[in-house]
């Protein structure tokens, strides 16, 4: 792997649950993120997948410092940024930018496109001197495939796909090294999704960007990611390269998730093996003991309730594509399903 630009270690975010109005007392915590670790190499794309409520968006918010972690460290080029404040924090934040999911609510309707994309320069004036801003913004519009003459238009004059391009241009304004994209295409029409994915891929090679790409669409994540982490109930349950995760999953949750993805091929209907999970994701305020997935897992045994499985390479697979970290006691015994389960 190339030089590690971002490293997350044992990241935890608990939201306190309180009771009482005047004398608040904490009665518990929503364990949104409960010990997440991963690394991101320069120029690499790390995909994060998982169902809603698994904590993937909370991780994204902590990476860009919109939320402060309860515990754990986020290192940017070796420096822990969770403890930073003031000037030092500001300098780091410039380098880690975010692209949001909903292009309808993440752009201020009262600001022109030029003001939206140029606003980061108000906070970081050292990047673009005042006289130079308009030109910079027009360049950015051009880079993301919009007409530079649209600089004085308002967000409502654009379609969803175009708005997402504006959001991307704003993310690029400060020339960051890392972009955290939280479901950047899920609000878009199918025919426009591919355009935005292509744009992100092109920008990555053009500006040597590193991406943390969060999405629930597994085929899109596979297309764009070098490595993929699967999250469940605040934890990473399996992480590896895209082939390791998609073709040789060793965690039962990853297998179930992959098998639930509808395949756009009616021929596959008859001979597909599907694992249909029963029930819902447990509440993160009261997660099950031991393995968080055991309540829905068809492999669960007593040991799963007693012991928390660690995210580690299963001993049975010391080499080969199945040798990647998986948080299951039985990861070594699980037969990876057919390789063509997801196209």
């Amino acid at each position: 792997m190339a030089e590690t630009i971002l490293e997350v270690k044992d990241l935890v975010k608990h939201y306190p649950l309180t009771q009482g109005v005047l004398f608040k007392k904490q009665v518990g915590a929503v364990k949104a993120v409960d010990g997440v670790s991963f690394g991101l190499g320069r120029g690499e794309t790390l995909g994060i997948v998982g169902e809603s409520g698994c904590g993937k968006s909370t991780v994204a918010k902590m990476l860009v410092h919109l939320e402060r972690p309860t515990a754990g460290a986020i290192s940017y080029k070796g420096e822990d940024i969770t403890k930073l404040s003031g000037r030092a924090l500001k300098a780091v934040r410039r380098n880690i930018q975010m692209v949001f999911q909903d292009p309808y609510t993440s752009l201020n309707p009262r600001m022109t496109v030029g003001d939206i994309i140029g606003e980061p320069y108000d906070i970081h004036p050292e990047v673009a001197p005042k006289g130079d801003r308009r030109r910079r913004v027009q360049e950015l519009l051009d880079v993301v495939g919009l007409n530079p003459e649209y600089i004085n238009r308002y967000p409502h004059q654009f379609s969803g796909g175009q708005r997402q391009r504006i959001g991307i241009a704003r993310g690029l304004a400060l020339r960051p090294e890392v972009i955290v994209a939280d479901e950047p295409v899920s609000a878009l029409d199918v025919s426009v999704q591919a355009q935005v994915i292509n744009l992100l891929a092109r920008l990555q090679s053009e500006f040597d960007l590193s991406y943390v790409f969060i999405a629930h669409d597994l085929s899109i994540v596979r297309h764009i990611s070098d490595r993929v982490g699967v999250m469940y109930l605040g934890r990473v349950v399996e992480i590896g390269t895209d082939t390791q995760i998609y073709d040789h999953p060793t965690h039962p949750y990853t297998q179930a998730l992959l098998s639930a993805v509808p395949v756009p091929d009616p021929q596959a209907r008859a001979h597909r093996e599907r694992i249909i999970l029963t029930g819902d994701v447990p509440s993160p305020a009261d997660p099950p003991s031991g393995c968080p997935f055991r309540t829905r897992c068809w492999k669960a045994q007593q040991r799963c309730a007693d012991e928390v499985p660690l995210l580690a390479v299963p001993q049975a697979f010391s080499s080969g594509p199945a040798a990647h970290p998986s948080a299951c006691h039985f990861a070594g015994e699980i037969q990876p399903p057919r390789a063509d389960s997801l196209r």
Binding site: S52, P262, I276
Partner: protein, 324 residues
Amino acid sequence: MLLEVRDLHVEFRTRDGVAKAVNGVNYSVDEGETLAVLGESGSGKSVTAQAVMGILDVPPGRIAGGEILFKGRDLLTMKEEERRKVRGADMAMIFQDALSSLNPVLSVGAQLGEMYEVHRGMSRKDAKAKAVELMDRVKIPAARQRVGDYPHQFSGGMRQRIMIAMALALEPSLIIADEPTTALDVTVQAQVMDLLAELRRELNMGLILITHDLGVVADVADKIAVMYAGRIVEAAPVHEIYAAPAHPYTRGLLDSIPRLDQKGQELYAIKGLPPNLLAIPPGCAFNPRCPMARALCRTEVPPLAQVGPDRASACFFWKECLGG
């Protein structure tokens, strides 16, 4: 034929002019059959369904022409009173967003039971017993204990099951499901789609599934109608359309799905944007985005023409599209 939509036109009056949301749509569903209506936002797929159900907002909406034959009777000329008896009892709809479709201040039992009280004249007590039965049928665990719970106490998947239960309550012969799983996670989506398919088989219902997800369609549909700018651009049995699309728009949609052998390459993307319904391009509505467009496409509107035993395509150059 259970339902036949013939040459349906729907318009919306807006401040900027008349938006032609549906421009001559034809489709049909038989008992026990699943028709998938595929299209992007603004393609008219939901508006067509609303017209069939009779829940179109009028005004600003207006049905400008066409027929909707349900079991041989035209719904559009029916008296509202008669139509109300059909709606809910003989055809029912499942909406995308269960949380905003359910009444937050009534227990789910009361909402399910209401179907029986209104349409069947049952007592409240009998209706509640029926509600428990229904919740069992859509596999909600501990139905008897949960019948008094409110919508917010259920998870997304469970709420969608309640929506399905409500649609099934009076055993309709047609169900229209408008993006029933779009708001759900894949694992829950699989549960809900399975349930819907199972119940459809059991009751031999016709199902119209409105979606933009090509994966879901491949999993459950018998036949597909692809909509673009208020028209059907291609209609075909599910296997044929995936094997060889006969319209460049369908081809573009299928080609833009990421495939394993194309990893790291640029995805195929349909260029441009979906059309503005206030100003649909002359000729074929898809022509500004179409890689095959010629002069003819910019002036003449291609009719939805028969291109095979059960297939139709609204492209002048469908042969080329099938071949290439």
